[in-house]
Symmetry: C2
Subunit: 373 residues, 2 copies
C-alpha cells in the first residue's frame, strides 16, 4: 500500500504511480475540490467522465455538517458521496484560520466558532486525525497552523507549532489504509522553509505536503520556496502543493517536482461564468459570444466543448441558468486534468522541460485574476 513508483523524470519533474486503497493515481495529478462532499454542480459520473481521479474534501466543513461520525456510520466518505476512487482530506487547519470568525490558538490546539451557527468547537491534532479517520479518505493531512506569510515574526512560531503537531498527528493516527502526509510550513522565509522541509522529511510520513502557499504571497515568492526546498524533500515520496492552482501554477509546480495539486479555482471561476482557454480566460457574460458557434476551447474534448457552442453557454449565463455553472465546471476541471495529463506524457517522452516556455506562453492569460475582471 502507498507505494510511489517513479516511472520517468525530466529535470525535477516526475511521472509516477501512487497506490491507494481505492486504486492507483497517475501523478502529476490535479484534484478537483469537493468541499462539502460534492464538487459543486458536477455529478460523480461527470467527474469520472472528465478524467478526474482524485477528489479533495474538507475536514472542517464535513465535521460541522453533516458530521464525521454520521459519515462513518454511513460507510465513510467514499460511499457517502459515491466516489469509489481516491479521496484526500485536508486537516481542517486552513479553514479554521480562514473561515471561522473567532479563534483562539494555544499550544494544544485551536478553539473556534462555526461559520454556520456560531457554535464553539475545538480542533487538536488528535481530533483532526480522529475526524479524518472517521471520514476515511485515502490521503489525509497532519494538523497544521497556516499563518499569514507577511508576518515574519509569527510565522516561526506557527511553523514550530506545526512541527510539534505533525508528530502528534503521526502518533494519533491508527488506520493503516490511510496515507498521512506531513505539512511543510514557514511562509516565504526560505530559511524557515528549509528547516521545516528537513524536519517534516525526517518523520515517517508516506508523503509530504507544502502548505501556506497561494495565501497572499507573490507568485515569485511561491516559486522561490519550491526551488529552495526541493532538495530537502524525500525523493521517493509524493509531494503535494496545497490549494494551487492556475494552469501556470501547475506547469511551474510540476517543473519543481510537485506531484499532487488541488484548487477551487476551476469550479469557482465556472460559477462566476469564466472559462479557461488556450486563448486566455473567457468571460462568458460578454456579449461578443452571443452568436459565437465555436466551442469554449478549439480542441478541448470535454462534454461541454463536444456538445455546446459559446453562444449557448453565453445564453445560459445571461439567463442565470444553473446549467451554465455545470457546463463551465466540467470544462474548467477537464482543462486542468488534461493539462497535467499532457505534461505527464511529456515527462515520459523527456520533452517537458524544453516545452515549459511554450506551455507557459499558451496558458499565461488564465492566471488567478480578480473574478470581476
Amino acid at each position: 500500500m502507498f507505494e510511489f513508483d517513479i516511472n520517468a523524470k525530466n529535470g525535477l519533474a516526475r511521472a509516477a504511480v501512487f497506490h491507494t486503497p481505492h486504486g492507483f493515481l497517475n501523478t502529476p495529478v490535479f484534484a478537483p475540490v469537493g468541499t462539502q462532499a460534492t464538487v459543486k454542480s458536477v455529478t460523480p459520473a461527470q467527474l469520472s467522465e472528465l478524467g478526474a481521479s482524485l477528489v479533495l474534501s474538507n475536514t472542517y466543513h464535513l465535521y460541522l455538517r453533516p458530521g464525521d461520525e454520521l459519515i462513518a456510520k454511513l460507510g465513510g466518505l467514499h460511499e457517502f458521496m459515491s466516489w469509489p476512487h481516491p479521496i484526500l482530506t485536508d486537516s481542517g487547519g486552513y479553514q479554521v484560520f480562514s473561515l471561522s470568525k473567532t479563534r483562539k490558538i494555544d499550544s494544544e490546539g485551536v478553539t473556534f466558532k462555526s461559520h454556520i451557527d456560531g457554535s464553539t468547537h475545538r480542533f487538536t491534532p488528535e481530533k483532526s486525525i480522529q475526524i479524518q479517520e472517521n471520514l476515511g479518505a485515502d490521503i489525509i493531512m497532519a494538523f497544521d497552523e497556516c499563518a499569514d506569510p507577511n508576518d515574519p515574526v509569527y510565522i516561526r512560531t506557527a511553523m514550530q507549532r506545526t512541527h510539534v503537531w505533525a508528530e502528534r498527528s503521526l502518533n494519533a493516527h491508527t488506520r493503516q489504509d490511510q496515507a498521512l502526509f506531513g505539512i511543510v510550513q514557514g511562509g516565504v522565509d526560505l530559511e524557515l522553509r528549509v528547516e521545516s522541509a528537513d524536519f517534516i522529511s525526517s518523520l515517517p510520513f508516506p508523503g509530504v505536503a507544502i502548505g501556506g502557499l497561494s495565501v497572499g504571497e507573490t507568485k515569485d515568492d511561491m516559486l522561490k520556496v519550491l526551488d529552495t526546498i526541493n532538495s530537502h524533500l524525500p525523493v521517493n515520496k509524493p509531494r503535494y502543493l496545497m490549494g494551487v492552482g492556475t494552469p501556470e501554477d501547475l506547469i511551474n509546480g510540476i517543473a519543481r517536482g510537485i506531484d499532487i495539486f488541488d484548487c477551487v479555482l476551476p469550479t469557482r471561476l465556472a460559477r462566476h461564468h469564466s472559462a479557461f482557454s488556450k486563448h486566455g480566460r473567457l468571460n462568458m457574460m460578454n456579449a461578443t459570444f452571443a452568436s459565437d458557434t465555436r466551442p469554449l476551447d478549439d480542441d478541448c474534448q470535454c462534454y461541454t466543448c463536444l456538445t455546446f457552442t459559446r453562444a449557448y453557454i453565453r445564453h445560459l449565463v445571461a439567463a442565470k441558468e444553473m446549467l451554465a455553472g455545470t457546463l463551465l465546471s466540467i470544462h474548467n476541471l477537464h482543462t486542468l486534468v488534461e493539462l497535467v495529463k499532457e505534461i505527464r506524457e511529456m515527462i515520459f517522452n523527456g520533452v517537458f522541460e524544453e516545452n515549459i516556455p511554450k506551455l507557459l506562453d499558451i496558458w499565461k492569460y488564465n492566471a488567478n485574476k480578480a473574478i470581476s475582471e
Copy 2:
C-alpha cells in the same frame, strides 16, 4: 410525416407512435420543460439517460432572450440546445398573460412589456408562428388567449378570439416539417369547451391541445372538461394537455384519452428539495432523512436512486449545494417519464383501466401541494 399510429387502446386510453422530423415519440409521453432552452440543472445527456424523448421550450422566453432570429441563425433550437430529439414550443400566449406586467389585448393581438427589461413587444398569431418557425420545433402551437377560468363572461370572448387566432395561425404557418396544433379553450364551462373542441377539431390541425387547465380550477373541474370533450376530439390525432401535471393528473389524463403532457412541477419541486415517491412526496430538508441509507424511491432505476442515499441528498439540500437540484430533478423527471411508460405497457396489455385505482392509490400523496408543505 406526423403520422399518428394508434397501436393499442384500453378504455379511452391510447398507446400510439407519433412520427416527427426528429424521431418518433411513443405516446402517452411526458415532456420535461426547458423554459429557456434548458431543462433547469440537467444536461441533455442526463435527460436522454433518464428516458426523456420530448422537451418543451417557451416561445415567449426565447423570443425575449436570446431572440428567435439568433436561434434561427445558429441552426435552430435543436442545435442551439443540443437536443436532437423532438421539441415542442408553446405559442407564448400563456406566458404573455401570466408573466408580463402590463398587457393590452385587442382582436389583432397582444401588446405587452417584457418581464426582463420592461421593453414593449407585440404578439399576433402571425408573429407567434413566425417566432416558432424560427425556433424550428417539431410540434408548435397556435396563438391563443388563456383567460381566468373563474370569469365566465370573459371566457367566451377569449374562446372566440382563440378560434379566430387558430385560423390565422394555420394560414400563417409555412414550414412543412412542423406539426401545428390548435388549442381548445373555454375555461370550465362545459358547453363552451364542447363548442371549442368541435371548432378546433374541424380545422386541419395534425394535433389538438387542451389549454387553460391547471390554471386555478379544481381537479374535478379539469376532469369534467376532459370527460366532456373526449368524444368531440378527432380520434386519430394526438391530444396534448398543456401544463399538466402531477402523477395523479397523468393517470387521470391518460384514462381520458390524453397522449402528451408537460409540466414544470418535477424540476420546480426539485429546486425546492421535494422528491416524488411511491410513499408520498418527500421533503428532503427534513432531518429524518439525515441517516437514511435508502434511495429516494425503493425500486426507482434513475441515476440518483441507483447512486445516492437519502442521507447524502439531505446533506446536499442542507448545505445548499447545487447538486441537490440536479439529482432531485433527474429523479422527479424519471419518475414521471417512467410512470407514463409503465401505463403505456399496461395499455398494450389491456390492463390499464383495471389498474387505475391502484395507480391512483400509489401516487395520491404526490399531488401539487404548496411547496412549503
